[in-house]
């Protein structure tokens, strides 16, 4: 059983373009998704039904419809209404709005986890709104929200592989491309699997470092008040 | 409960008679020594109460007897079986030793009856019919036969602890260990459990009981053992223990405990 990784090496430019696009898509979609998540979360927790219900509908739609269907709808159905987006743009949009819904739920969970009693305690102590939002609520929100949030971001990086189905030249598409030229399915798919694994593991390490950095800083700073 | 072992009258060498024998037992958690030089012999049908302040190692001691905790030095022999790493020995000892916990530890996903049936059927391969008769008998003994189909969460604390006692009894153990069985109960339910334990004692069950209930100790115990900081400080019959203790630490403890 011989493996021909040389064929892959020869086509490494395709691979590199794939990695680049995967990272590009992910790291643009994630911040947009977070932004959407914050907005939707605020709507979701609003006391006014007219703001709350659109948010609920949006979240439920994104949670119960597969991302691939969303992508196909945007890429194949939208042209019928005159909107013809490129694969890449479709990717950005779909990934962001899909992730946005999940971010919104995570943020909502965080707010609800902190809400109980903390606002009461802060107010009872006579602290002012701006002060306690910054020093009491937000640091706690952050610890609740960071782990699941990074999980969503990680999922978005992996879901970018779906865009290979609408011919976006990200990593999975690159594998199909190379395989089509060299007929080396084992080598190509194994290689991209490993590359994804490396990307994700590095991402996790990065976020772990961020978390411990922020934890010790913010929380102890807010504790320094004592 | 008849077995081949028990009926010799000799008192010179108590080894074959003793239900539990602990010799020179020492235990550490890492560098911290929790039990120091424990020597304790419990005869068949004897009722022992172990008391002492928190952290004195009394729970740890009885949990070593059925290997829920491991001792590093010394010997523990239960019903003639030495307690070692050997899994067969441990399993054998566990089927002879019944235990009741402070937190009851009933299995919440099983009914009262199922809680009692599980061990006899799984460990001794008792048939379901026999196990049912057994369970019925012991549930009657602890006075809650009518709750057999309820789930633990539907019972009061006192009822749950009594079920726990019945569950342990269904294995027909030769000795019962009680680890602060009433400490987690509301005051009005303590008595029902103590009464059940007293009846067990009256019927001749060998018992080692860790408890703060001094009234129970006075009434039921053959011997009271006082532990402090991992050591056995004093071991005496109740009259001596409560009224004539020669030991300072014991007296001090009794003063604090008997305030209420």
């Amino acid at each position: 059983m011989t493996f021909d990784f040389g064929a892959i090496w020869e086509n490494r430019d395709i691979l590199i373009e794939g990695i680049f696009n995967t990272l590009l898509i992910s790291f643009i979609a994630i911040p947009i998704g977070i932004f959407i998540g914050v907005v939707v979360c605020l709507l979701r927790i609003s006391k006014r039904r007219v703001l709350r219900w659109p948010a609920i509908v949006y979240i439920e739609l994104m949670r119960n419809i597969p991302l691939l269907i969303l992508i196909f709808m945007m890429f194949y159905a939208l042209p019928f209404y005159g909107i013809r987006l490129s694969g890449l743009t479709t990717g950005f949009i779909c990934l962001s709005i899909y992730g946005g819904a999940y971010f919104a739920e995570v943020f909502r969970g965080g707010v609800e986890a902190v809400s109980k009693g903390q606002f009461d305690a802060a107010k009872a102590l006579g602290l002012k709104y701006g002060f306690y939002m910054r020093r009491v609520i937000f640091p706690q929100l952050y610890t609740y929200v960071f782990p699941p949030g990074t999980n969503i971001a990680l999922t978005m990086i992996k879901e970018s592989s779906l865009l290979s189905m609408i011919t976006v030249a990200e990593l999975t598409y690159a594998a199909h491309d190379i395989n089509g030229r060299t007929f080396t399915p084992v080598e190509t798919f194994a290689t991209i699997a490993v590359i994804y694994w490396v990307i994700c593991t590095l991402f996790l390490k990065l976020t772990q470092m961020l978390q411990s950095h922020v934890d010790t800083d913010d929380i102890s700073n807010s504790m320094a008040l004592r | 409960m008849e077995t081949a072992r028990t009926t010799s009258l000799s008192s010179v060498s108590a080894e074959p008679e003793a239900m539990v024998e602990i010799r020179g037992m020492n235990k550490w958690y890492g560098d911290f020594q929790v039990l120091t030089d424990i020597n304790l012999t419990v005869q068949s049908r004897e009722r022992i109460v172990i008391c002492g302040p928190s952290g004195s190692g009394k729970s740890t001691l009885i949990r070593c007897i059925n290997r829920l905790e491991e001792h590093q030095e010394g010997d523990i022999i239960v019903d003639g079986i030495p307690l070692t790493q050997d899994v067969k020995n441990i399993d054998q000892i566990r089927s002879e030793v019944g235990m009741c916990f402070q937190q009851f530890n009933l299995f919440p996903h099983l009914t009262v009856m199922e809680n009692c049936l599980l061990a006899p059927m799984s460990v001794r391969n008792t048939s379901r019919k026999e196990a049912l008769t057994l369970a019925q008998r012991y549930l009657e003994k602890v006075k809650i036969p009518d709750q057999a189909d309820k789930y633990p969460s539907q019972l009061s604390g006192g009822q749950q602890q009594r079920v726990a006692i019945a569950r342990a009894l269904c294995m027909q153990p030769r000795i019962m260990l009680f680890d602060e069985p009433t400490s987690a109960l509301d005051p009005e339910m303590i008595n029902e459990v103590l009464e059940t334990m007293e009846e067990l004692a009256r019927e001749g069950m060998t018992m080692i009981c860790v408890t703060h209930e001094m009234g129970f100790a006075r009434k039921v115990a053959d011997r009271v053992v006082f532990m402090d900081q991992g050591q056995i400080v004093e071991s005496a019959a109740p009259e001596t223990f409560f009224n004539n203790s020669k030991n300072d630490r014991t007296r001090k403890f009794l003063q604090q405990v008997l305030q209420h």
Binding site: F80, E159, L204 | M99, Q103
Partner: protein, 220 residues
């Protein structure tokens, strides 16, 4: 905005078969996932370092690579590698099942950590052998406590099934692709497909909440 659902309804039969096939594949893959997950959980608690490390690496790999890639690996790479020829159905079930298994293992691990130590002690004190402690006392409680999470995992599995369209399985997504290629009405077809997925996943979540309400009676 000229939706002509009328046109596709008569031809929508394949969509419903696709939906059934999706559910069918989902259930089997989920079953595989639960078996794999339970196995991983037991291996994780094993005395053998090798098994424990295997579980960690396995989990890291599954969670660190896209499901699509895992499916492609199973379909394209497994056969040349091992000489075993498996059809797309088996490859798909295995890929999705092994994927789900890693996540199920994590769910079960969380549930396991919430079982009070006293349950282990009571079971051991009664003399129950290890395998009985696991299967009669501990695992039933673990599964009971994580039902909503497992149901959520099932919806995740359903949402992965569209990826199987890439390896020729005719589940709902593939069926809808075929239909809009035939009718040139992707809008209606995809909306219908989205609607069907929504109904499936939403119903499952509602069922999960019902199950959770029922299992509350076991709680203290």
């Amino acid at each position: 905005m000229d939706l002509q659902f009328i046109e596709i309804i008569p031809k929508a039969g394949p969509l419903f078969w696709g939906a059934l096939y999706t559910i069918f594949v989902g259930v089997i893959a989920c079953g595989v996932g639960i078996l794999v997950g339970t196995g991983l959980l037991l291996m994780r608690n094993s005395r053998f370092w090798l098994l424990r490390t295997f579980v960690r690496i396995y989990g890291s790999f599954i969670r660190g690579t896209p499901a699509l890639v895992q499916i492609l690996v199973f379909y394209y790479a497994l056969a040349p590698l091992t000489g075993i020829n498996i059809g797309p159905f088996t490859a798909g079930i295995m890929a999705v099942g092994f994927n789900s298994g890693a996540y199920v293992a994590e769910i079960l691990r969380g549930g396991l950590s919430r079982i009070p130590k006293g349950q282990w002690e009571a079971a051991e004190a009664l003399g129950l052998p290890k395998h009985k402690v696991w299967f009669k006392v501990i695992l039933p409680q673990v599964f009971n406590s994580v039902i909503p999470l497992l149901v959520n995992e099932f919806t995740m599995v359903i949402k992965i099934t569209p990826l199987l369209s890439t390896i020729t399985l005719v589940e709902l997504t593939r069926a809808s692709q075929m239909l809009y290629n035939e009718t040139f009405r992707p809008v209606e077809v995809l909306l219908l497909a989205a609607f069907i997925y929504f109904v499936i996943c939403f119903s499952i979540s509602q069922f999960g909440e019902y199950l959770q309400r029922r299992s509350q009676k076991f709680r203290l």
